[in-house]
């Protein structure tokens, strides 16, 4: 039986992962685009992204676009897998109601 994931279950991180797994497997999202999508501050998003990156659920890619620094974020294969398991666990709790 799938188990809940404590790292992912935190509300902001849950929404971050939901946004990232919605993208295609080879797609990544700009930090500011993700911040605006979630409606959180730079610092708040940065802190949650660090947690997810440390867990290996997301990959952070710092690069330059037209000489400007840009940070792109994507869900890893592991992140997609544990997120899917988390959703299954949530659904099973709901079914057992």
């Amino acid at each position: 039986m799938a188990e809940l994931n404590e790292t992912i279950h935190q509300p902001v991180r849950l929404r971050i992962m939901a946004a990232l797994v919605t993208l295609g497997p080879n797609e990544e999202v700009d930090f500011t685009y993700l911040r605006d999508l979630l409606g959180v501050t730079d610092g708040n998003l940065g802190a949650h992204l660090r947690k997810l990156e440390e867990a290996g659920y997301i990959a952070v890619n710092k690069t330059f676009v037209e000489r400007k620094p840009r940070t792109y974020v994507a869900a890893t294969a592991e992140g997609r897998k544990v997120f899917a398991e988390h959703v299954v666990a949530l659904e099973s709790i709901l079914r057992s109601k």
Binding site: A18, T22, N26, E28, D30, Y33, L38, Y72, I93
Partner: protein
Amino acid sequence: MNISPYEAEQALAAIQAMMQKTRRAISSSGAYLFLIVWGIIWLLGFLGAQFLPQYIAVYTWVVLDILGGILSAIIGIRMNRGVRSPSSSSSGKRIAIFWMLLFLYCVASIAVSWPADGKQLAMFIILFVMVGWLAMGLLLSFTSIWPAVIITALALVGYFLLPGIFNLWMAILGGGGMIVLGLYIRSRW
């Protein structure tokens, strides 16, 4: 880790809402806007062709097409903002080259078949644009080919069966249809 069914329900709702918001954000950065912009251009252009003197209608079409090209370029650039993939840059360039070549082929076909009247010119442009739409649909999203097939069928019906009101027919069903479809896609996502 244990949570109540109520908390599980809340979490699933949050996931669902975020996924929908993300899909809408990606699509609202462009795709449906193409339909609305070109729907308005067709609506105004064909209404002009139906009711205005021919020379004014031709200039109206030229101005509208230039405006449409500029707006399409802006929408295309905006679509690439925010989300990227390794293949998006090269495929974006290929798509731009495809549309430029299709435009040149359309001009060449018109030149070969010249002289052509206003309705024939309109049909050439409609058919080439719909071929481009079909190619994009087959490449990017199979379900999006159906509006192109329907618009092509409507254009052919108008051209062959309703020549007296062809421009009005295309303004309302072609232009209006694209606007409605664009708004529908926006609301559905």
